[in-house]
Symmetry: C2
Subunit: 277 residues, 2 copies
């Protein structure tokens, strides 16, 4: 039986159609539907026979599946899976390589620029892989419940905390930025109570001050959440929750791209949690 409905025009439409109708599909077709969405690359490259084998159905089932969604045959459906791969923007390295071989001799500044852009990309990739959603959620809850959030950061980490401070200000979340002027830091921290919380940031080489301050807070029963770049960071041991974000570097210099994204996500999540009560 050939369906009269016309086939989805692109992969997203197909995906939507599959999800919408997956309840009313017979057993084997459901099996194909699941396989198709889980292994889109296999569908794109494989032959009906090879796909059928790994999906544990008959080739004819694949054809039937395609026809159920309005295609003339399996090949028509396969085109959508291929188009998806085609349109997917090429990887970073590929693009840079294209630039290089076209431009022949690039200025050094361009090389450096591309390097940092690529490093930023990799950092953000690593970020999503490294951050555990549950730990993140716990941290948000912890900080959202604090009366005042103390932001502890020095040197390389300071731009991050200063941006969080800016955002907290806009979001009407009470905070104290520690690390600005010399001397008064400890006085400010002395006012913190266990109803408050601290967010400490420190990357290697660790500013020992930050670690000392974080430890002092923890000792007084003030929960500490921290962002660092190593499990061996002195911050890790005194923190209720801690996150390891490794920024990819270019020529030894790190941009804070991933850390910034993390910081903003944390900041906004905290504000959102408070708003909802």
């Amino acid at each position: 039986m050939v369906e009269k409905m016309q086939p989805p025009g692109d992969f997203d439409a197909l995906r939507a159609a599959i999800l919408e109708r997956k309840g009313e599909l017979p057993k084997r077709l459901t099996q194909v539907a699941a396989y198709a969405l889980d292994h889109p690359d296999e569908i794109a490259f494989g032959t009906a026979a090879s796909i059928a084998e790994s999906a544990e159905v008959q080739p004819s089932t694949l054809v039937r599946f395609a026809q159920h969604f309005g295609f003339e045959g399996f090949s028509g459906l396969q085109l959508l899976f291929r188009a998806r791969l085609r349109e997917r923007t090429s990887s970073y390295e590929d693009r840079l390589r294209t630039l290089e071989q076209n431009g022949a001799a690039l200025a050094e500044s361009t090389t450096i620029f591309n390097g940092f852009a690529a490093a930023a990309h990799r950092s953000v990739d690593a970020l999503t892989a490294a951050v555990d959603p549950d730990a993140f959620e716990r941290s948000v809850t912890l900080l959202a419940n604090a009366e005042t959030i103390y932001l502890i950061a020095k040197r390389r980490s300071y731009p991050i905390s200063s941006y969080m401070a800016y955002a907290f200000g806009k979001l009407k979340v009470r905070y104290q930025l520690v690390g600005t002027a010399a001397g008064i830091d400890d006085d400010m921290l002395a006012m913190a109570t266990p109803r408050d919380a601290a967010f400490a940031i420190s990357f290697s080489p660790y500013a020992s001050e930050s670690a000392t301050q974080a430890r002092a807070m923890a000792a007084r029963g003030i929960p500490v959440v921290s962002l660092t770049d190593s499990a061996f960071s002195p911050l890790a041991e005194c923190s209720r929750e801690w996150f390891e974000v490794v920024e990819a570097d270019h020529a030894g210099f790190r941009s804070l791209s991933a850390s910034m994204a993390f910081a903003m996500a944390l900041t906004v999540s905290i504000a959102e949690k408070r708003r909802r009560g």
Copy 2:
């Protein structure tokens, strides 16, 4: 004639082999080589006949080409082109979607986190597209020739300039960070001479102070390079060079991921240019 050499193991090896031998290849094979490197996706998906047509050669030439590089036939070579697409990390949206449909109900904080990570990715993508390498190079030269670099930034831009300040300090580049304490800014700027230069950062809504200061510098013959998020920024008109970096946002909040990458590339490029004289 069947070559005895063994075929490249991955796409990069093949690419290298093609580039290495492209000089000694006969006419039609050179044609195929060029087509293959320019349209790798076509090779991955097409059939020998379709590829032959768009490369304007005979299908048999494709087979010969593959054999020249040690493959048994065209199909063997095609496998490498397909593997390349397969291994290419999937796009960000794809991965997030996978996360979503697996995790079913995600905590709101996770959604926010993913949103910022995706936004950071997009921002960095846009960055490479938006920055003109020549303008970047000119800016580097301009700032590298300055005696002192004045960093002008307020509010949301301040974290960027403060990180540049940190890096400049490490790199032994003389700078003045403007925008820290209230009041003394204008006094500091008054000391600048045309042998210096300024780097101004301002995003909408623009801190009018920064624009005023940048204009004042420009009026006194001090070259200004600026980073902003719109061509209509007041900074653009008074700057010798200016860059437009649009940060993708998540729920109205922007992380500074792309700007940070840009800032670090600029900073390191300046230091590098100075080091080389």
